[in-house]
Symmetry: C2
Subunit: 140 residues, 2 copies
DNA sequence: AAATCAATCACCCGAAAGGATGATTCTCAG
DNA sequence: CTGAGAATCATCCTTTCGGGTGATTGATTT
C-alpha cells in the first residue's frame, strides 16, 4: 500500500516533469494547447488505470478464498458445536473410529452425532453431508 | 464491455467539454496553465481508476470460482476418463448403486473403478478421495 | 499377430457406515 | 426444583464400502 502510493507519486512527478519539459520546449511552436491536454489526459488515464488495479487486486484476491461460518443456518438447522466438530472431521475424510480417537469418545457417540447430522442436513451419506455443508457454508 | 467503453467515451467527452468551457472562460484570467493541467490530471486519473476497475472487476470475479481441470496430474496418476466420471459422481454424494444406475453399468463395475481410483489417489475412503481430488484440481 | 490397457462384470469377505431405539449424565433456563 | 437440550454410550440389525482376485471384451499400439 505504502509502496504503491510512493510509486504513484513518483510516476506523477515524472509525468509533471515530462510535461514541464514539453511545455518549455514546444509551447511556442505550432502544436496547440489541446494537444498537451490530450497527452495529459492519456497519460493520467493510464496512470489511473494502473493505480486502480494495483490498489484493488490484492483485496479482491484475498476476498476470494475467504471463509465465514454461516451461524444463522447453523442455528436454523439446530446443529450443535459438537456436531459441527464431527462434521468437519467427517469432511476431512476420517472414519468414525478415527474421529472417536481424536475426540476421546466412543465410536458409538460419533455414530449418534453423525446420524443426527444426517437428519438435520437431510442427507443419508457422509459424502452428501460434506457436499451439503459446503453449500451451506458450514465448513470451508 | 461495449457498455463500459461507451460510458468511458461519454465521460471523456464530458470532461473535454468541461475543459473547453473552463478554457474559454478563465484562460485569460489569473489562473495559470499548471492549474488546468492539474485539473486534467486529477480528472483523468479518477477516470482511469474507475475505468480500470470496471474493465477488470468482471474478469477477476469470474476468475475466482473458475475451475480448470488439471490434466497433467490426471495423466501422471493414470486416471482414465471413466474413472474421473465415477470420481465426480462419488464427490456429488452418490452411492455405488446410484452411480451404476446413472451410468447404466453394474455396481460391480463401479466398485472396480472406485477401488482403482483409491489406489491411484492413495486413499482408502471415498470421502478422502473427494478431498484429495479437489486438492489436485481433478474436480471442482 | 501379440501385447497392452480401458472398461466391463462377478464373487467373497470383512470392515465401515447408517437407522432405530433407549439410557445416563450434566447444564442451564424457566 | 423441574424440564429441555446437549453429550455421552450401548445394542441390534441392515446396507454400503473396500480389498482381493479373476475373467471377458474391444480398441490401440507395437
Amino acid at each position: 500500500m505504502k509502496r504503491t502510493i510512493f510509486l504513484y507519486s513518483l510516476a506523477l512527478a515524472a509525468l509533471v516533469f515530462l510535461l514541464k519539459f514539453l511545455e518549455y520546449r514546444f509551447i511556442i511552436r505550432d502544436l496547440s494547447l489541446e494537444f498537451y491536454f490530450g497527452i495529459v489526459a492519456i497519460l493520467f488515464t493510464a496512470l489511473g488505470i494502473w493505480a486502480g488495479l494495483k490498489l484493488t487486486r490484492k483485496k479482491i484476491i484475498l476476498a476470494g478464498p475467504e471463509f465465514i461460518l454461516n451461524e444463522s443456518k447453523l442455528q436454523k438447522l439446530g446443529i450443535s458445536k459438537r456436531e459441527l466438530e464431527v462434521l468437519e472431521l467427517i469432511s476431512s475424510g476420517l472414519s468414525n473410529q478415527q474421529i472417536a480417537d481424536k475426540l476421546f469418545v466412543s465410536p458409538n457417540t460419533i455414530k449418534t452425532h453423525s446420524s443426527n447430522l444426517f437428519i438435520k442436513l437431510e442427507v443419508s451419506r457422509r459424502t452428501q453431508a460434506v457436499q451439503r455443508a459446503k453449500e451451506l457454508k458450514l465448513i470451508p
